[in-house]
């Protein structure tokens, strides 16, 4: 099955990837998409993950057509 993976902000810049379509087997957890897309790069401890625009835990199993996002801690609002 096929999922769309997106990276944001500093993560996107550092990895040089904004978005990527990827073919994965059924039962793949969200966190595993990271190692598939950026092998050898350790998953940052403070990274946040979303599936279809909702926060999810790293163990969440992806489904066909999901949009998965990895991003750094958020810094909206003001100081």
């Amino acid at each position: 099955m096929r999922v769309h993976v997106r990276f944001f902000a500093g993560l996107r810049e550092r990895l040089g990837i904004a978005g990527r379509e990827i073919e994965v087997p059924a039962g793949t957890p969200v966190a595993q998409l990271w190692s598939l897309l950026v092998p050898g790069e350790p998953l940052p401890e403070n990274v946040l993950m979303a599936c279809n625009m909702e926060y999810v835990e790293p163990g969440r199993i992806v489904e066909d057509g999901d949009e998965i996002a990895f991003f750094p801690p958020v810094t909206g609002g003001c100081r």
């Binding site: 902000a9 909702e54 991003f71 909206g76 609002g77 003001c78």
Partner: protein
């Protein structure tokens, strides 16, 4: 219950002057609590020339709507409004406007603060600061 993401500068007081709180005749609400966060020209000891605010279109709006829904569940409110800038900002420009209307002031005060803390801690926005000769992503937010 309105969420607006704007990619150009806005004047929070004009926005509020023009906003009509949902389903509320003038005499029905007694309290309005507002918070405006603006870009400062210094951070962590450095002068900041400008700032770029990135967001996750779709998820950001969803998340802001979700915290408004939660505030409306927790308190008796007439209406909530959140406006947040994205894109290129200059020092002094408003970044965020949170406004809450309610019959009693306690609910308005509590809910406006709740919305700001929730927004800061989990709404998908990221700041990149342009210093004199370099730029950097802001790594962590200040606590409330």
């Amino acid at each position: 219950m309105t969420v607006r993401i704007l990619d150009t500068a806005f004047d929070p007081w004009s926005v509020l002057g023009q906003y009509r709180p949902a389903s509320a005749a003038d005499g029905q609400f007694g309290a309005t609590a507002v918070f405006v966060g603006s870009m400062r020209d210094f951070n962590e000891g450095d002068a900041v020339a400008s700032m770029f605010l990135e967001h996750y279109p779709g998820m950001t709006e969803n998340y802001l709507q979700k915290i408004i829904d939660e505030a409306m569940r927790r308190w008796t409110l007439t209406d909530c409004l959140i406006v947040h800038r994205v894109g290129e900002l200059s020092p002094g420009q408003p970044i965020v406007l949170v406004a809450v209307w309610s019959a009693h002031r306690k609910a308005a005060f509590d809910a406006s603060r709740y919305l700001m803390e929730e927004l800061k801690s989990k709404a998908p926005f990221w700041k990149k600061e342009q210093l004199e000769n370099s730029s950097r992503w802001v790594e962590h937010n200040t606590s409330g």
